[in-house]
Amino acid sequence: MNRHEPLIHIAKRDSIAWWQAWLVRLGAVVLALLTSALFIYALTRLNPVKVYGAMWEGAFGTPRRAWITARDTSILLCIGVGLAPAFMMRFWNVGAEGQVLMGGCATAAVLIYCGRSLSTPALLGLGLAASLMAGALWGIVPAVFKAKWNTNETLFTLMMNYIAIQLTCFFVTKWENPKGSNTVGIINQKTQAGWFPDLAGQQYLLNVIIVLTVTVCMFLYLKYTKQGYEISVVGQSENTARYAGISVRRVIVRTMAISGAVCGLSGFIAVAGASHTVSTSTAGGRGFTAIIVAWMSKFNTFVMILIALLLVFLEKGAIQIASQFHLNDYASNVVEGIILFFLLGSEFFIQYSVRFRSRRSEKEAEA
């Protein structure tokens, strides 16, 4: 008997059929849902089947809830879409949180300072431009340092988040209304100037339309344009890119400007289209969650829709359960964490095949 063969043998797969890959991912989701159900059961003694019934109720139970789910999904999706080009370039933009906040602050500034003098379309146009620029600026700064001096972009963008958070706190105290409340309050509550208009009677339809348009555009940009191709070459191998005559520095800065701008756009939508106020919870950790959305979907913006929806569904559902049982909303983060751990782990089984040392191979070795 060959005693030297290890118990588990791991080999990289050459390829895997798409349906097999999705089967593995589906299995991971199912396992994760079971684990979360167990967790919720341990806390609440609620029948696990009913748990998911209640979660469904929380996310889609009424038209209003369904629209809020759609609204939150679209913002998470928008941030994820913004991160896609950066990740495809293997540039670790962990700074989405800050880029979203800067976009949100820029929008709020436009609504507050020009709210009386400009019409809503002009306000929206100006807010859009300001948020794109603010987000892009927050993306370009680390990109320039990465391109010129190879400064570690993960840590740089991470720090930029906290500068943005403090800046947001600074603006909140500057714009606070009423004085002493430490919140900005609803901006232009009476006039609704600079708010997204209702479309077909739906408050959040415009949000969804904008984000879906951006999603499609980003998919086309990454897949079919010259710039998108350059991004993927730089991501695969910077040396190859240089050899092919691509200016790596320019691609890095340009891509991060786009990435930051789309994240800034999410801030614009979150402020002008959803909350109509600004605070650090305008981003509220979604900048970090979106990183996971973008990474899981392998830069495919359509897969992002699915993952974003799954995460928001879990969030809304867990909040529903938590409020029924007088727990707090953080239950949703736990469930989110569990499901992401399983999805992250499942990628391994897609990329590698695992073979256990079987009886048969031992016999073969003897023979």
Partner: protein, 327 residues
């Protein structure tokens, strides 16, 4: 002078929290694992400690501080190492991406801790905020005779034992990484795992050990925060998360050297609290003031990448998974 002393003491208390976080993360990063789960791990350590003390104080008729202390210390260590183990299993064995896994761990840890921190009392049938006063008092005990020595006593002897333990752990880590054989092997793994592997170092084992031990140390930061800094209560305001990221910043600021992290941590504390001692600051400018540690860290990060001196670079394989067959 009194003001200066009180600024320095609050800076030391603040610095101790992030010093634990940073030293743990340095040990982890030296193995090539960039664990962005530090805030989550600090949360896990904090809540495990509080929960252990809470159940002990609830069930014991006459809770004794030192027993609660030992129980909560062990629980915090175990929980945060478990968090590190999740990260290690996913990134080392399953080769998941380190950044994404770390961020997930932060989401998970923060969620779990705030869920229990906010609802533990309700779940146990009590009302209001969770509080573990007896255990917390044991954590904050100091020697009155020494602390009474005027300003010197206040500056050097007025802290709970964990403030001194943090310095000891940092110095110990410094010795380990620079002087011991295992520490040098660990650094080799972080710089170039393939070479270390060829030299007969068990890369997987070193990475696992460094990540779990590092997580254990980081988790103590959360424990110190919960037991000493906010005196055995819990608040879901997200401070631990902010401190956790500050600990990650401190790793960069200290250029991956645990001994340097000691004074850097206190410097961060001074920067963070300075606004309290400058008169005439508006609330708005206080918020700008709190930005300082992060700005300074970015400056250091840029300076490090500009100077390219060999001693102060991040570990070379930081953030990359190692798979022997892929060489």
């Amino acid at each position: 002078m009194t003001q200066l002393i009180s600024l320095l003491t609050s800076a030391i208390v603040f610095g101790t929290v992030i010093l634990y976080g940073a030293v743990g993360e340095i040990v982890t990063e030296k193995s090539g694992n960039l664990n962005l789960g530090v805030p989550g791990i600090m949360y896990l350590g904090g809540i495990a400690g509080v929960a252990a003390a809470f159940f002990y104080e609830m069930h014991a008729a006459e809770p004794i501080g030192i027993v609660g202390l030992l129980l909560s210390f062990a629980a915090a260590l175990a929980a945060s190492m478990l968090g590190g183990l999740i990260y290690a299993f996913l990134t080392i064995s399953l080769r998941a991406n380190q950044n994404v896994t770390g961020l997930t761990l932060t989401i998970f840890g923060a969620g779990l801790a705030n869920l229990f921190g906010g609802s533990l009392n309700t779940l146990a049938g009590g009302v209001g905020q969770i509080s573990v006063a007896v255990t917390s008092r044991a954590y904050r005990a100091y020697i009155p005779a020494l602390a009474g020595l005027g300003r010197v006593g206040q500056l050097f002897f007025s802290f709970g034992f964990m403030a001194y333990l943090a310095i000891a752990v940092a110095l110990g880590a410094s010795w380990f990484l620079n002087r011991s054989r295992a520490g040098l092997n660990l650094r080799a793994v972080g710089e170039d795992p393939a070479t270390a592997d060829a030299a007969g170092v068990n890369v997987t084992r070193y990475k696992y050990a460094a990540t779990c031990v590092g997580a254990g140390i980081s988790g103590l930061g959360g424990l110190y925060y919960a037991m000493d800094y906010i005196k055995g209560t819990w608040s879901t305001d997200g401070t631990i998360e902010a401190l956790g990221w500050l600990a990650v910043a401190l790793v960069i600021f200290a250029t991956w050297r645990p001994a340097r992290a000691i004074w850097s941590a206190y410097l961060f504390g001074v920067l963070y609290w300075a606004y309290n001692y400058i008169t005439g600051l508006s609330r708005a400018s206080i918020e700008l003031f709190k930005m300082l540690p992060y700005v300074v860290t970015i400056l250091v990060l840029v300076a490090v990448s500009l100077r390219r001196s060999k001693e102060s670079q991040p570990p070379k394989s930081l953030g990359l998974s190692y798979f022997r067959e892929e060489r």
